[in-house]
């Protein structure tokens, strides 16, 4: 009990300070934060990402190979030949493409229907909202990339930064388009004029995502500062330093949640924890902490 409260004290001290706003951290602070772990993505979320990624990969891989007409095709002839070698017949390739597509659509629909609150609404809240910080982020990031701006001076971002959000929007729209146009073409659900437009939109959606995927992969996997982001897509967790530096508003949100959680716990012990925002300084907060015996700490 005491241990918990003392941890609370130590952590809260730092947390409350940082909650005032972003600032440069000391080496010690960085160390502390770097050793703490926060959970960003659940197992289902992680799975969704990789199912998506693998499906997309397979679909683009085969989809591009299906297009052989000169005026439509996207891939060079050697690629088309190679893929024909792998699959044997166009028919097999098409069947594979459709099978993966159906699998992908089904999975997404299951998430969308059963996980509506947790995934769809969550997505809309985190990815489809824009604020001033997001707009300011783009020029800031550009300057940051060429070394003219420190990332401490960048506008604070939420769960996902503006760049990630922008890509997410593209992927979301494309997904919807593909979920509609894919089955229409695969199962012959409409007259030719609709199929023609579906084809074109299908390509546009695919290529929009494909255009961004290089950035996405680079930023996530190769860009050193974003390394934790990549691992978050495997373990689901990020270290708190990363969260504070790159996703301040999300870090703040989590802290609020932690605080509420602890407040609930301590209430059972009879200790009342004020709202985080009410604390003007650590001393104030500490004043309100008591042991179970009523001994003020």
């Amino acid at each position: 009990m005491g241990q918990r409260i003392s941890r609370l004290n130590e952590d809260i001290k730092l947390d409350h300070d940082l909650l005032k706003g972003t600032r440069r951290l000391t080496f010690e602070e960085k160390r502390i934060l770097a050793n703490r772990v926060m959970k960003k993505h659940g197992v289902a979320g992680v799975t969704l990402h990789w199912v998506n990624a693998i499906s997309w990969f397979l679909l683009i891989f085969t989809g591009v190979a299906l297009l052989s007409a000169n005026y439509l095709k996207f891939a060079p002839d050697w690629y088309l030949d190679m893929m024909m070698g792998i699959f044997g017949t166009k028919s097999a390739m098409l069947h594979f493409h459709i099978a993966v597509g159906v699998f992908w659509v089904t999975t997404l629909l299951l998430y969308g229907v059963f996980g509506y609150k947790n995934y769809v609404l969550d997505f809309i809240k985190h990815d489809l909202t824009i604020d001033k910080d997001d707009i300011k982020w783009f020029p800031a990031k550009a300057k940051n990339l060429i070394g003219k701006l420190s990332h401490y001076d960048m506008p604070p971002q939420g769960t996902y930064n503006a760049g990630q959000k922008a890509y997410a929007v593209v992927v979301a729209f494309s997904t919807v388009i593909l979920m509609l146009t894919g089955p229409i073409m695969a199962f012959h659900l409409a007259p030719p004029i609709v199929i023609q437009w579906s084809m074109m939109l299908h390509f546009v959606a695919t290529m929009s995502v494909f255009a961004g995927v290089f950035v996405h992969v680079y930023m996530a996997a190769l860009f050193p500062e974003e390394r934790p982001a990549f691992f978050s897509m495997i373990t689901g967790k990020v270290n708190e330093l990363y969260a504070y530096l790159h996703h301040y508003k999300w870090w703040k949100e989590i802290k609020n949640q932690e605080h509420e959680f602890f407040a609930e716990e301590l209430k059972k012990d009879g200790i009342h924890l004020p709202e985080l925002e009410e604390c003007k300084n650590i001393k104030d907060h500490q004043v309100h902490v008591y042991t179970l015996d009523g001994e003020q700490l």
């Binding site: 299906l66 297009l67 052989s68 007409a69 000169n70 005026y71 439509l72 996207f74 166009k90 028919s91 098409l94 069947h95 990339l145 073409m185 695969a186 012959h188 659900l189 409409a190 007259p191 030719p192 004029i193 199929i195 023609q196 437009w197 084809m199 074109m200 939109l201 390509f203 546009v204 290529m207 929009s208 494909f210 255009a211 961004g212 290089f214 950035v215 680079y218 190769l222 860009f223 050193p224 500062e225």
Partner: protein, 242 residues
């Protein structure tokens, strides 16, 4: 290799329409669509010089088939024996081939929403039979055979002046020939000229605008990332500075 072709002997043909019905019967072609056709023209001309002709047509299995070039999935292709066929497993029913065909030889079968057209009865021909339209013709006006075989009747008819329905604007090497000894074929050509292959709007947008844009965009991001990675390699990654 073979080069299947057909000759319509306009001298003999009486436009009885048996060929249309036989084709429909053999391939379950739903009304009102058709794989082959006989379009009757009224007797026209200036008395006393009057002509009564009918345009007997079917897929021309063109040498330079625009439909084959238009098919996005390769469902429509030209076989080695010259017959242009539709692989139903690959057809997505987009109808680009229909817009590309100068002769209007294709239709969408509402039973499976896929494109269908004459395939020279290739399943019958492989068994040594004649195409259904040829077999039923009660005027013996349809001749089918291998244009590459000098002993075949089609070869001889073509050598004797059988004509194709081509125009100055459109000549894609059709393999349906018309034998005409009464100067009637020009009427057909004037009334039913081959149409310039069309590309529908969405595909035009893709080919002319969107695809080049995407090439640039994707290439751009790829190069951009390459540059950033190079910079990163150059800068190195310091644990302390982070």
């Amino acid at each position: 290799m073979k080069k299947y072709a057909m000759v319509i002997d306009m001298d003999r043909c009486v436009a009885c329409h048996a060929c249309e019905v036989a084709c429909r019967s053999h391939y379950d072609v739903p009304v009102p669509y058709y794989r082959n056709w006989v379009h009757d023209l009224r007797p026209e001309g200036v008395y006393p010089d009057i002509k009564k002709v009918s345009y007997v047509g079917l897929c021309n299995h063109c040498d330079d088939a625009p439909c084959v070039k238009a098919c996005p999935t390769g469902a429509t292709y030209k076989r080695e024996d010259g017959v242009v066929v539709v692989d139903k497993d690959l057809c997505i029913g987009c109808g680009l081939c229909m817009d590309a065909c100068p002769y209007g030889a294709r239709y969408i079968n509402p039973n499976d929403n896929k494109v269908d057209k004459c395939d020279f009865c290739i399943d019958r021909v492989t068994e040594g039979l004649e195409p259904a339209c040829v077999a039923t013709c009660i005027a013996s006006a349809r001749i089918f055979g291998d244009l590459d075989d000098p002993k075949s009747k089609v070869y001889q008819f073509v050598a004797n002046g059988a004509q194709q329905n081509v125009s100055d604007k459109v000549n894609v090497g059709p393999n349906i020939y018309y034998l005409d000894n009464h100067n009637e074929f020009p009427i057909i050509k004037a009334a039913f000229p081959p149409k310039v292959p069309k590309m529908p709007t969405p595909q035009k947008l893709w080919t002319n605008i969107l695809r080049p844009l995407f090439y640039i965009a994707i290439g751009g991001t790829f190069i951009g990332q390459l540059a950033a990675f190079a910079t990163q390699l150059f800068k190195g990654e310091s644990d302390v500075k982070e």
